[in-house]
């Protein structure tokens, strides 16, 4: 899985590309831990490059959710493909995490405090 990062309006946008599973989850968790700091109040994961995700990938996203919540921030998911969305639905995580369909929508709605 490839990760790329950019910051906008104090929010960290991470684009993920590849397979998100037990093999790639540790690299994601490590990178997020390094990049997140108390200045960042919004984490936006762009998932349109994710070709595959399973419960290990979901688990890693949940970890990033807890991390940003712990700093008083919010997590949003961007460009979730139907296949990936289904896995999220089954997991119940959509009750706590919002989906957005454009970067602007995500930036406008996440942590406006």
């Amino acid at each position: 899985m490839d990760l790329s990062f950019k910051e906008k309006e104090g929010k960290l946008i991470v684009s993920l590309k590849g397979d998100f599973d037990l093999h790639t989850a540790p690299g994601f968790k490590e990178a997020i831990t390094k990049k997140i700091n108390p200045q960042i109040r919004g984490l936006i994961l762009n998932l349109d490059g994710i070709k595959f995700i399973d419960s290990s990938g979901l688990g890693a996203i949940l970890v990033s959710y807890k991390k940003i919540k712990g700093l008083g921030g919010e997590l949003g998911l961007l460009n979730v493909t139907p296949q990936v969305r289904r896995i999220f639905e089954l997991s119940g995580m959509l009750k706590i995490i919002n989906l957005y369909s454009s970067e602007k929508e995500a930036l406008d709605n996440i942590f406006r405090g």
């Binding site: 599973d21 093999h23 595959f52 399973d54 419960s55 290990s56 296949q83 089954l90 997991s91």
Partner: protein, 141 residues
């Protein structure tokens, strides 16, 4: 048509993708939809991940995947010779986990496959037996 194949891999996370790809390629001989093949991949991914993390606790070991096509049905068996599961019923509960994970692996397998059975013995290993039938063929029946 009958067909059988078997894949045996070292228990390391590098091989999870290999297992998914191999099983999906084998399964493509039946008329599965793309979305069914994706479901199958999730099931395989969960089963193999479980053998690596729980079965062998990230120590070395072998994971065996048996693939078969019989009567237009796909049968997959994923087997490890790891620590085994003490209480299978409990293990299958949503969110039950012994490793601080999601506890959703076996739930996903159960929802994505048509039949699913766990056999396990403490100290001997775990064997997941799964069956999946293309939706097309289900409607004909």
């Amino acid at each position: 048509m009958e067909n059988k194949a078997r894949l045996i891999v070292d228990s390391i996370s590098e091989n999870i993708g290999l297992c998914r790809v191999t099983v999906a390629s084998f399964a493509a001989q039946l008329d599965f939809t793309l979305s069914e093949l994706e479901e199958l991949k999730v099931a395989i991914s969960e089963a193999v991940s479980n053998s690596i993390i729980h079965g062998y606790k990230e120590e070395s070991g072998k994971i065996e995947i048996e693939m078969g096509i019989f009567d237009g049905k796909l049968q997959i068996i994923v087997e490890d010779r790891g620590c085994g599961i003490e209480d299978i019923e409990e293990a299958c509960q949503p969110t039950y986990t012994t490793e601080g994970r999601m506890g959703l692996g076996l739930v996903f397998i159960d929802s994505f496959m048509d039949e699913f059975k766990v056999e396990s013995k403490l100290g001997e290993g775990t064997r997941l037996k799964m069956l999946k039938v293309p939706i097309q063929d289900k409607e004909i029946e």
